[in-house]
């Protein structure tokens, strides 16, 4: 199993400076640039520590958000491409349907791949609905735009001669990617999903399918992926094509674990602080999905990862949302979760969130790396790793 260190680069000191949404409408008056400077550098330091400890690195982006100050996966990765030595560098991801210029995204990705000597993993995401308020791209037909951007991105990465593109959403006279990526023909691709239908689409492409805080819904998604992969490619899906994100914190004893969980947990309280009109703008979900939700009496989006309000540590662990404990316990939780979903080779760990301090984060990362990671890495999957090029 591979382990990925994730952090949302939050501006958590702003959370209690204002009532209501922590994104979209929160005024940047409460984003103190001196504190932001310290926090950005702290988070980068934690990833550099993770690189030394044997973690791979996973970054994301949001916009107008106190939950995540990273405004660009490629900006964060371009720093880490130079400053880290060993870690694989995963963008999960670029909201490609929100970008006006997918060619530019391909250029930035290729440059990161070359500087990092082929350590890049490219994740493309649909992005949260509220991101559309900042990108101003339409929620309607978002997936049509996503797939055209994806197709253009892949062709830009893999084509070895200039080409033109005259699509419905994007038009270019001359696409000519310089540099071409270090990994040939292109870096591994990841896409996020939560539904079985989307899992099948990713399986057809042979990409890594990642799911975030999906808990009990994960098994059905992964089963659909494996079934579709076998049908499409005529062989069993390698476990390294499946990835799961949960929160993680470890400690030297139960009291320390509980203290750290309490510090991280406010992350869950902040997540739903979204302006209600941006939780599900028309067009973002399918018509069928919206009709079902309305008939069920729901007018907003998904909240709280399917957990009850103010969940206990045990409920979060049981729900597969949080891996928390002393090293033995946390190993067993992750092993049990992986077994329960039929095997997952990429464990994405939100290892800093909420009010977890740098000292706690660094200590938790070190303890996990020393006591848990070797055992997880030893969980060898009985498969041949197939390079993306063969798909």
């Amino acid at each position: 199993m591979e382990v990925w260190q994730f952090c949302e680069q939050s501006m958590h000191p702003a959370w209690n400076k204002i009532d209501g949404p922590t994104k979209v409408t929160i005024p940047n008056e409460v984003c103190d640039p001196v504190i932001a400077h310290e926090l950005y550098n702290r988070y980068l330091d934690e990833w550099m520590l993770g690189d030394e400890l044997g973690y791979n690195i996973f970054v994301n982006e949001h916009h107008a958000s106190a939950n995540c100050m990273s405004v660009s996966c490629t900006l964060t990765l371009s720093i880490l491409a130079r400053q880290t030595k060993k870690a694989r560098l995963l963008s999960l991801g670029v909201p490609i349907a929100n970008r006006t210029d997918p060619y530019r995204v391909a250029e930035e990705m290729a440059m990161i791949d070359v500087i990092s000597k082929g350590r890049l993993e490219v994740g493309l995401v649909k992005a949260s609905p509220f991101e559309l308020s900042m990108s101003n791209q339409s929620p309607a037909r978002i997936m049509d735009r996503y797939w055209e951007a994806h197709d253009l991105f892949v062709k830009a990465m893999t084509s070895r001669e200039p080409f033109s593109w005259e699509g419905e959403f994007f038009q270019y006279r001359n696409v000519n990617l310089w540099p071409r990526p270090y990994q040939q023909p292109m870096p591994p691709m990841w896409i996020t999903a939560s539904s079985a239908a989307n899992g099948r689409k990713i399986a057809q492409l042979g990409y890594v399918c990642a799911t975030f805080f999906n808990g009990k819904g994960t098994k059905a998604l992964f089963d659909a992926y494996r079934e579709e992969y076998l049908k499409t490619h005529g062989r069993v899906a390698p476990p390294d094509r499946l990835a799961y994100l949960g929160m993680m914190v470890t400690g030297h004893n139960d009291a320390e674990v509980e203290d750290r969980v309490a510090k991280m947990k406010c992350y869950l309280d902040v997540q739903p602080r979204t302006p209600p009109q941006w939780t599900n703008p028309p067009g973002y979900e399918s018509l069928e999905g919206n009709v079902k939700a309305l008939q069920a009496g729901k007018k907003g989006g998904r909240l709280n990862f399917g957990l009850p309000p103010n969940p206990t540590m045990e409920q979060m662990i049981e729900g597969g949302i949080f891996f928390a404990g002393t090293p033995d316990k946390i190993y067993n939780q992750i092993k049990k979760f992986s077994d329960s979903v039929g095997g997952v080779d990429h464990m994405l760990l939100l290892a800093q969130a909420g009010l977890l301090t740098h000292e706690d984060t660094a200590d938790s990362l070190k303890l996990f790396a020393k006591e848990v990671m070797p055992r997880l890495k030893a969980l060898k999957s009985n498969h041949e790793v197939t390079p993306m090029a063969a798909e």
Partner: protein, 266 residues
């Protein structure tokens, strides 16, 4: 209510269109708002006492097909040019409300010669102000529960027009109609937000006598915007209606119909 199906269908090219036909006399094409059309609409009832009211559900709305590649209000206008020819409408009256007013303007500036009068009710679609003045308030990224407050002067009256949003007790077809209308309205109106930057400079091409009717309590585009809209059309008359919001023709159907019928009787 707004989720009720329209009684008739007509094929335009390869697309099937839902349509409401009511009354006899001179033809009157009514173009509905971004939230669809109520077949029992009292304003249309009043117009149908003197006119042959023809009110289709726009492509993508209600149960009307959405032809592939149709994504802009101008696309819709070209579709309606086909419809006008097929129905062979002549000396017709064109009436559009809100989003339908925008569509009516896009149609009228194309100079079909098939309309003798044009009426705009709380129309959107044109930009008159500066780049830092948002004149048309948000109607697409809104919660469902906010719609009656935004669209009507009296929130409770507005809720009734939407069937109280009691979706769990509605038929699936009704819920689908509501959700589909919202999605199509958003697709056609998203960006620039509910206007075509070219439209203001083309409104002078509306050569027919025109009337612009506005709700005094319109919270989406206030009466000042309405006056600017009328000023951009040579010779257009302007009238305002008290106690009427953005969907004023639904809220004060009698007063709106009186203004329109008076104008058409001239």
């Amino acid at each position: 209510m707004l989720m009720t199906a329209l009684p008739d269908r007509v094929n335009v090219g390869k697309s099937s269109l839902e349509v409401l036909r009511k009354g006899r006399g001179q033809p009157l094409l009514f173009l509905h708002t971004g939230h669809g059309l109520d077949p029992a609409d009292a304003f249309l009832d009043a117009l149908s006492s003197k006119f042959n009211v023809i009110a289709p559900a726009h492509p993508g709305f209600g149960a009307s097909d959405l032809p592939s590649g149709m994504t802009t209000v101008s696309d819709l206008a070209y579709f309606y040019l086909d419809f006008l020819e097929q129905e062979n409408l002549r000396d017709a009256v064109l009436v559009g409300a809100s989003f339908g007013g925008w569509l009516a303007a896009e149609l009228a500036i194309k100079g079909t010669g098939r309309f003798s009068r044009v009426v705009f009710l709380d129309s959107i679609g044109a930009k008159f102000g500066s780049r830092e003045n948002r004149e048309i308030q948000e109607l697409l990224a809104t919660t469902i529960d906010d719609l009656p407050r935004l669209l009507f002067s009296e929130q409770e009256a507005g809720r009734k027009k939407f069937g109280e949003f009691d979706f769990p007790s509605m038929q699936e077809a009704e819920v689908t109609r509501f959700a589909r209308n919202r999605e199509s309205f958003l697709m056609f109106g998203w960006s620039p937000a509910l206007y075509n930057p070219k439209l203001a400079s083309r409104l002078h091409r509306i050569r027919q006598p025109a009337l612009v009717v506005w709700g005094e309590d319109d919270k989406i585009v206030g009466p000042d915007y309405g006056r600017a809209f009328a000023d951009a059309i040579p010779g257009a008359k302007f009238a305002s209606v008290p106690h009427a919001g953005h969907y004023g023709f639904m809220e004060q159907p009698g007063a709106y119909a009186e203004h329109v019928l008076d104008f058409l009787a001239l």
